[in-house]
Structures are given as structure tokens and as C-alpha cells.
Amino acid sequence: MGVYLFDTAVLRGALRARPVNLVLDVLRPLVEAGERVMAYEFQGYWEDVGTVGAYYRANLELVAPEPRFALLDPRWPILTRDEERPPAQFRDHAVVEESLVANGSRVDGTVRRSVLFSGVVVERGAEIVESVILPDVHVGAGARVERAIVDKYARVGAGAQLGAGPPVDSPETAWLEGLTLVGKDAVVPPGARVGRSVVIGVGARPTDYENGELPAGSAVPNRSWFEEAP
């Protein structure tokens, strides 16, 4: 798990050799030298979330019927730096099932098996399915977001479709595991068609889309805010 408890004297001794890697240069020599290196077997929930797929699955597991990880456990609250936001608002057309909805969100569309961070706006008729939506993302009316991770402040225009269509089978996009990523501050223009395994770079602009379309497996590069529009 990469979690260790050291005897201070032993650690001090090991660090004298200026090790670079804790496992290769400290632990392995200790084991080889026959020091008392013991294991502690942990039975509880533990996830590394080091890949896009693992991050996505760990999030979606929280909305499964019996999540292994109890976020609502009052005896073990997970503390964070939180902005002050009002309660989540559910409007007349809201249909929300098996989802987490953080404060400051306003929902007038459909949300299924998804995680909405704070301040997310889902306009009427929009649909979010099996997705992770980070803070202050705006999803316009009638848009559909499926199997996507959408980063902070991104704006999905009205009627846009994300993560639709068949998956691609290419080694370059295998790391996406069929997911579509939308970078921070990126804009998806109204009515755009974005396939699966697409990466929309940070700060992407409407001019980055050809005919409003991004085929499965394609990518838009990152844009800095001070860059001139392409």
C-alpha cells in the first residue's frame, strides 16, 4: 500500500546512505540484512486511483447500492477545505438516481449513477449518465454526457453529446478505458458530437472542433488562456 511505520533509529540509520527510493534503497536492503521487517495486513477499503479508469471506478463505486467506502459515516468524516455553498437545488424536471450531489449544484435534468461536485448546473432536459462532474461545470439544456470525467469550470453547450457511440479499439487510447475526458475550463460548443475515448484539452475552445465534431479516439490539445484562438 506504500504506507510504512518505521522505528526512528532504523530509519535514521538507513537514511545515512542517502537513498533515492524507499522500496529499492531502504526496505529491500533491510529485508536482505535480516532486520525485523513485518507486514500489517489491512482489511478495509483502499484504492490507489492512479489511473483514469481507477479514478473513475472509485468514484462510481460510491453511488453503487452498497458502496465499500462509507462517505456518510459520521464517526469518520472525511475533512476538506470547502467553499461555502447553499444546499443543492432540485427543480421540477430533475430526475436523479443513484448519485452524489454536492452543495451549490442546481439540477433540472436527469442524473444517473453519477457524481456531481459542488456548483454543477444541469439545465432542463440535459442528461448525465455514469459520469464524474467536477465543480462549477455547466451542462446546457438537452446535452448528454455519458461515461465522462468533466473537469472544473468546463461548459458543455446545449444539445451537445459526449461519450456517445461505439468504443474504439486502439493502443493509443487504451489508457482511457472508453472514457471521455474534458479538461478544466474547456468549452464544448452547442450541438457538438464528441465520441468515446476523446480527450478535450484544458481550455479547449469552440474553434477546436471541426464541424462541431470530435470522432471517437480523437484529441484536442491544451490551450492557455492567453493563447490566441486557433
Binding site: 462517505l71 459520521p74 475533512l79 443543492a88 432540485f90 427543480r91 452524489l100 452543495n103
Partner: protein, 467 residues
């Protein structure tokens, strides 16, 4: 002279008309809009208006306010200079030991603090109103007019004018007439109970025989030729002093474009908020037209309702047109309809609160406070499984299933504890604060401990039937 950075917030109000909700907490500490307390709006107005020296004057049940405000961290008022201070009535040598006798008396007894403030103006605010107001234009007008006092006013429907202090202004906005709760109002401009005072005027006009701003100080200033002006405010402002207005103001938050926009990032309402996970909406949930706070677990139906943090709605339960406070648990199959449920209440399976179509039979014990069809349940009450509770019913704090002689409580009835609990405290002594009604309350005594300890479940007039 730089802009005023100093304010008094009068937070001693008892808010008797809020019935159970303010029985054990001061009115400014009553929860509002899910995660907030009423005083959060005034405190947030202060910091958003760049006012960072705030003195909160408390008196009635101050513990809830002390816990909530603490050192002022959520409002960034935990400052090394200034910040928020909570002041309770105190005794001192050469001074009669007594409670605040009114709004002006509360300020008078803390006048020493004003003398130390290096500012020529002081804001005097009420801690029990819901509104968003930038105080700087208010203070700026006060300076421009070289006023002794400037009173914030707002147009109200002329039919409601008799509930307020009513002002008539001339074309320079000088106050030419002041009527306190008039039968025949001469204008529709109501005082909001919010003032900017020049420090010198405050020191001059406050005295032992003028305990109340609206009732004594302002009339004396007008009679004495002081420069009294009105400041016209046309934004959202609500007193939420009655059960009905408290409920209605929260229902208005459910509009697509509510008159009070909580989501405005340029005017954030701050509060003390526990860390909790995002609201979890389960597979069997239906949530429409509602506010749902963090830490909620929703497996049933929620419509047109406001849920505070940590509320649980089990499968098959229905919450409709209701306000449900912190950590209350609505069990499977229970129904809430037009109810205000205080915190940590347990509503048993298949219980119904707000049953029948009789919205008009008033509560027998509080006919002036519970008469619009809203049923109120006090803190930590346990509602037994299958109970049928009508409208305008009052369920006291902490009642247990054994306190219910019958599972049917008719509209207009009440349920009280059979035996006094160790936590019951009989408060005594005169009470004063921002509510004008308090003056009469203290004169008449509270008279509250007499009946409420006797075992009873009561209902409306005989012969009345819930349908």
C-alpha cells in the same frame, strides 16, 4: 473619514411567534434554508459590505448563538483587530442589575464600546431578518445628508402597514412623520429596524427612559429637531417572524429565480457548517423542486421541501411542502405534508404528519401562532410508527411514543411530555430584545411553565373531524 466598519447586531429577540422553533434557541439562531441560521444573513451582509467590527448583543437563550458564531471563523471575523464579539447583559458596580429593556437599552448598556471605536458612524442591525443589503451606500447617504440617524425603509403593501413602524418622507428623504404600528398608516414605507447613527447623536439621544429605538428614541429625535432621514431599500427583505412567513419564505427559495438568490457567488452567505459528504440520492428516490443539503441520504420522495444537512428519507417515505432540519430521520412509508420538523427528530414508519384537509382549525394552545395548516414538531421528538397527526398540531420537543395517549392527533391538537425532563428549564425574568412584542411579554411575564408539564394530548373543538 473612512467608511464605517462598525455594527451592532441586536440578537436578543425571543421570536415567540415562531412557537417551538424558538423555544430553546434565540430567533437569530433558528435554522433557515437548510444549512443556515437566520443571523447568517446579517453577519454575511456585514463582511460582504466590508464591515469587520461587529458586536452581537444577545440575551434570550444565548447558548445556541454562542455555539454558532464562536470566534467568527466562518465569516472571517476571527480577526486580531476587531472581528465579532458576543455581548451578554452584565452587572457592574454602581449600576442596577437588569436585563436589556429594549433595543436602545441594549445599545446604551454597551455604549462604552462605541466610545472606543474610531468612527463617527455606527450601524445598528437586527439579527433576525432575511435579506441581502450592501450597507456602504446606506452609510454613504447618511454622511451625504449629514443625518443624525438614517432609517432603512421599504415599501410594503398598505394593507400590512399596520404591523410596522411607518415613516413619511419629504422629497429630501427627511422623515416628517413616524407612526408605530398605526391603525391608519399615512404611508407605505416601513422601517426595517436597521439604522445608521452618528456616534454623537447616539450618545446624545440614548437614555435610561428611552429603552426602544422605534418606540422612544426615534420619536424623541423627531420631536427634538434631530436630522432623521430614510434610506429607501428595494431589495428582498423578510422578517420571518411567524411560522407561516418562516415557512413561506423558504418555499419561495424553490422558485427557478427566487427573490433571494443563495447561489450568487458575489454575495456569499456564510455559515458554520459541519463537514459532511455530498447528498446521496438512491435508486428509489424522487426529488423535485427541493433544496437538499450535504450529508442527506434520500431513498424516498421529496417534493417542494427544504432539507438540512444529514436528513434521511427512507424508501417509500414522502416529504412534501415541508422544512426538515438537521439529522432528522423519516422512516419507510412515513408522510410529511406541510410540516416543520426540528432537528434530530425520528418519524416512525408509516406515520403521517399533516393529515386531512382541515387547514383552518387553529392550534388550541397557540391559536395565534399555528393557524395556517402547518404542523410543527420539536427537537428530538420521537413520532411513533403509524401515528396519524393532523394540521396545526404542535408536537413538543423531546416527546416519546409513550407521551402519545393515542396514535391519532386531530388538527389543532398538541402533544406534550408527560413528565418534565431533566433538560427542561423554566426561564424567568423579563426579556427584551429586537421584537417589539417582547416589551409586552416582559410586562405580562412569560406564564409558560404552568400548563405545559401536565400530561395531555389535546385536539381542536369537539365535533371536528379530519377527513
Amino acid at each position: 473619514v473612512r467608511a464605517s466598519r462598525y455594527a451592532f447586531i441586536l440578537a436578543g429577540g425571543e421570536g415567540r411567534r415562531l412557537c417551538l422553533l424558538s423555544e430553546k434557541r434565540a430567533k437569530p439562531a433558528v435554522p433557515f434554508a437548510g444549512k443556515y441560521r437566520i443571523i447568517d444573513f446579517t453577519l454575511s451582509n456585514c463582511v460582504n459590505s466590508d464591515i469587520h467590527d461587529v458586536m452581537v448583543l444577545t440575551q434570550y437563550n444565548p447558548r445556541s448563538l454562542n455555539d454558532h458564531i464562536g470566534a467568527g471563523r466562518p465569516w472571517d471575523l476571527d480577526r486580531s483587530t476587531g472581528g465579532v464579539r458576543l455581548m451578554q447583559p452584565y452587572i457592574s458596580r454602581n449600576r442596577a442589575a437588569e436585563w436589556y429593556r429594549g433595543t436602545a437599552d441594549a445599545v446604551l448598556q454597551n455604549l462604552q464600546a462605541i466610545r472606543d471605536w474610531p468612527s463617527d458612524t455606527v450601524l445598528i442591525l437586527a439579527g433576525d431578518h432575511i435579506y441581502k443589503m450592501d450597507y456602504q451606500p446606506f452609510v454613504a447617504q447618511h454622511r451625504r445628508k449629514r443625518a443624525d440617524v438614517t432609517i432603512a425603509v421599504k415599501q410594503v403593501p398598505i394593507g400590512e402597514a399596520h404591523r410596522f413602524g411607518i415613516l413619511a418622507l419629504d422629497d429630501t428623504d427627511a422623515v416628517v412623520e413616524w407612526q408605530e404600528k398605526p391603525r391608519q398608516p399615512k404611508s407605505d414605507l416601513a422601517s426595517l429596524g436597521i439604522y445608521v447613527f452618528s456616534k454623537r447623536a447616539l450618545e446624545h439621544w440614548l437614555s435610561d427612559d428611552r429603552p426602544d429605538f422605534g418606540g422612544n428614541v426615534i420619536p424623541a429625535m423627531l420631536a427634538g429637531g434631530a436630522r432623521v432621514f430614510g434610506y429607501r431599500f428595494d431589495g428582498y427583505w423578510q422578517d420571518v417572524g411567524t411560522v407561516e412567513s418562516y415557512w413561506r419564505a423558504q418555499m419561495e427559495l424553490l422558485d427557478d429565480h427566487p427573490p433571494l438568490d443563495l447561489y450568487d457567488r458575489s454575495w456569499v452567505i456564510h455559515t458554520r457548517s459541519e463537514e459532511r459528504a455530498p447528498a446521496r440520492i438512491g435508486p428509489t428516490a424522487n426529488v423535485h423542486r427541493s433544496l437538499v443539503s450535504h450529508g442527506c441520504l434520500i431513498l424516498g420522495t421529496v417534493e417542494r421541501s427544504i432539507l438540512s444537512p444529514g436528513v434521511r428519507v427512507d424508501p417509500g417515505a414522502v416529504v412534501r411542502d415541508s422544512v426538515v432540519m438537521f439529522d432528522t430521520h423519516i422512516r419507510a412509508g412515513a408522510v410529511l405534508d406541510r410540516a416543520i420538523i426540528d432537528k434530530e427528530v425520528s418519524v416512525g414508519p408509516n406515520a403521517v404528519i399533516g393529515m386531512g384537509n382541515d387547514f383552518t382549525t387553529p392550534n388550541r394552545h397557540e391559536p395565534t401562532r399555528l393557524n395556517t395548516g402547518i404542523t410543527v414538531v420539536g427537537k428530538r421528538a420521537i413520532i411513533p410508527a403509524g401515528a396519524h397527526i393532523g394540521r396545526n398540531v404542535k408536537i413538543a420537543e423531546g416527546v416519546r411514543p409513550s407521551d402519545f395517549p393515542s396514535k391519532h392527533v386531530k388538527s389543532g391538537g398538541s402533544v406534550e411530555p408527560r413528565r418534565p425532563r431533566p433538560t427542561d428549564q423554566v426561564t424567568s425574568g423579563p426579556i427584551a430584545g429586537v421584537d417589539a412584542e417582547i416589551v409586552t411579554v416582559s410586562a405580562a411575564g412569560r406564564g409558560k411553565s404552568g400548563g405545559r408539564r401536565t400530561p395531555r394530548t389535546t385536539s381542536g373543538p369537539a365535533g371536528h373531524r379530519d377527513r
